[in-house]
């Protein structure tokens, strides 16, 4: 019978009977990570945690654009050093990753991304990395070009590229199709409704963008393994016209589906379910801070302990004491709705 030979982790009820919803069974890596492997990272804000833990582990974090020696930690972070494998800031969308890689390969600048504010010059494709801007356009162009070469250099070093998908919503320059990590005018630049447009990338576009990005990475590094994750951090705001909860659900659903599809189609692409750990119903939102958006330190630690725990060659990350799957008065209370799927429970191993 189908289901009868499946492991306990395949059954909701059996997962629920354990303290942590069988968290250690949640992730079986496709490829093993071993000490000394070189890991590159990119993605949304949540991805910064991955870099931090990789740096503290026996893995090596690829960093082709390091901060000056002895720069204080606060300055390092404020100027976008050490957050990822190069100083690209947050890469929220698959389109942004694709564009970054295409620019790196083509050594290409976009005039529409040379932003200004109060006489200072900002890189519209990573405006937060120089919060006070640069002194001239020539200086900005030099910084951007050298940055792109260091992005390319990541693939001379990396064994594994970890990308955390964050958003589907973005802003683009209508004429060129260039996408920005923030709307023009928020940090620098100027919003012009005739030049800039909101874009909410769908399944097909996200899949194509990510596929193209993977192809580009493989051209630079044929043996590269790729690990995808989805950020569990909800949208701060949506320009889609929808309620922010609906917009978040749409965005994360697209990203989760694309990540799953990519991983299913390619033996060298894996998916790690950090999204599920933080957002999953069994954990009842316990890993979110009071604003229901930011992930708690304990939540990050649970994610990382699950990840490192799945790679026995690496030293484990301690799992903090965690709230269990939410208990109810009667866990077997019948669902009031008719649900054929519930019948599958009967096939679970005893």
């Amino acid at each position: 019978m189908p289901y009868s030979d499946l492991p306990p982790s395949a059954f909701w009820k059996l997962c629920r009977q354990t303290d942590d919803f069988r968290l250690s069974d949640l992730y079986q890596p496709k490829f093993a990570l071993t000490p000394g492997m070189r890991i590159a990272t990119a993605g949304s804000c949540f991805a910064q945690n991955i870099g931090r833990y990789v740096r503290a582990s026996e893995l090596e974090l690829v960093d082709t654009e390091p901060a000056p020696a002895r720069m204080p930690a606060e300055t390092v972070q404020r100027f976008g050093y050490g957050l990822f494998s190069a100083r690209y800031g947050n890469v929220y969308t698959a389109r942004q990753l694709r564009q970054l890689l295409e620019d790196a390969v083509a050594d290409r600048l976009h005039d529409c991304a040379l932003w200004q504010r109060d006489g200072r010059f900002y890189d519209g494709l990573r405006p937060n990395t120089e919060p006070e801007g640069l002194g001239s356009e020539a200086e900005l162009r030099a910084h951007r070009r050298d940055h792109l070469r260091r992005v390319r250099a990541i693939f001379d070093e990396a064994d594994v590229f970890v990308f955390t998908l964050g958003l589907t919503e973005t802003w683009q320059d209508i004429k060129t199709g260039v996408v920005f990590p923030t709307a023009p005018g928020v940090i620098a630049g100027a919003f012009d409704s005739a030049r800039h447009a909101f874009l909410n990338l769908g399944m097909a576009e996200t899949f194509e963008d990510l596929s193209t990005a993977v192809t580009l990475m493989r051209e630079l590094s044929p043996g590269l393994k790729i690990l995808l994750t989805v950020s569990p951090v909800p949208l701060t705001a949506t320009a889609s016209g929808a309620h922010v909860l609906s917009a978040t659900t749409y965005s994360k659903s697209v990203l989760r589906a694309v990540a799953g599809e990519m991983a299913a189609l390619d033996d060298d692409i894996d998916y790690f379910p950090s999204y599920e750990i933080i957002t999953g119903a069994p954990y009842a939102g316990a890993f979110y801070q009071d604003n229901l958006r930011n992930v708690t330190t304990a939540g990050v630690q649970v994610v990382m302990s699950t990840f490192f725990g799945a790679h026995p060659a690496l030293a484990p990350v301690e799992r903090p004491a965690m709230a269990t799957a939410r208990g109810g008065a009667d866990p077997d209370e019948a669902d009031a709705l008719i649900c054929e799927e519930a019948m599958l429970e009967a096939l679970a191993p005893k």
Partner: protein, 269 residues
């Protein structure tokens, strides 16, 4: 005028200046040891307390009690203990500041299509300044000044470590990064960045004056002229090694003492 001078080995330039001063020189409590570090001295309210046995020994030799109430002096002078020109140069060990004039050639090289990554990556001037400011904010002097400001309104003077001696450029097989910075013509920019970073780090603390190294004592735009490093001494008043390039002598100390008089007088009015 009664001062308490707190700091590291650079306090000795003021000691030597005072030794040579005529009548009317300020009365000074010396609270210093070479390389005064975090935790070796601590504030309890407005009382500065020695916490390190070596500092206690040093204070005994200077005739200073191990606890000094800083509210009892006209001004407190902190010398050194922030970031020096050496620290500023260390940040440039692998990087070049893109906003400085010397970087024009690098900027042109970087903006050439399909060029290789720069051997020395660019760092922006704001990032460099922020790094210096950050180092100062984490320093023993900044922590003590901040703590003192919470406990007392006594005027505070901050004297950053003097720029190294012009002799540094004549040393053999030493200070290669410093010499590279000088060769690129970046020395004056390093010196002005140090001034700006100190002023930013202590901005907002009322009654705190950050002293600039007097123009007449500066050689080549970023070093201490030889006339002002001559006769530099240790805290024990003994001579420093011939090849010392870190310390300034009584001539610079005298210029600072004159500045202090003006500042304290102005604050008293």
């Amino acid at each position: 005028m009664k001062l308490c001078v707190v700091g590291d080995s650079h306090v000795a330039m003021l000691m030597a200046a005072l030794r040579d001063a005529g009548p009317g020189a300020p009365e000074v409590i010396w609270f210093a040891k070479p390389g005064l570090a975090e935790g070796e001295a601590a504030l309890e309210g407005s009382r500065l307390c020695a916490r390190d046995p070596d500092l206690v020994t040093r204070l005994e030799s200077l005739g200073t009690p191990t606890e000094v109430d800083l509210d009892g002096v006209d001004a407190v002078v902190f010398v050194g203990g922030t970031v020096s020109a050496f620290g500023a140069v260390r940040l440039l060990q692998g990087h070049r500041v893109s906003g400085w004039a010397s970087a024009q050639a690098l900027i042109a090289a970087a903006d050439t299509p399909f060029a290789a990554p720069l051997k020395q990556p660019l760092i922006s001037e704001p990032a460099y300044l922020a790094a210096l400011e950050g180092v100062i904010r984490e320093s023993v002097t900044h922590r003590l000044v901040t703590g003192l400001r919470e406990a007392s309104a006594v005027p505070v003077c901050v004297v950053p470590q003097p720029l190294p001696s012009e002799a540094i450029l004549e040393t053999e097989n030493k200070y290669p990064v410093f010499k590279r910075v000088a060769r690129h013509g970046d020395g004056p920019a390093v010196a002005s960045s140090l001034i700006a970073a100190h002023e930013r780090a202590f901005a907002g603390l009322s009654g705190v004056t950050v002293f600039r190294q007097p123009e007449e004592s500066i050689g080549q735009g970023f070093l201490t002229a030889l006339a002002y490093t001559r006769d530099a001494v240790r805290l024990t008043d003994s001579a420093l090694p011939q090849d010392d390039v870190l310390h300034a002598g009584p001539a610079l100390g005298a210029l600072y003492l004159a500045q202090m008089r003006e500042v304290v007088q102005a604050l008293k009015i």
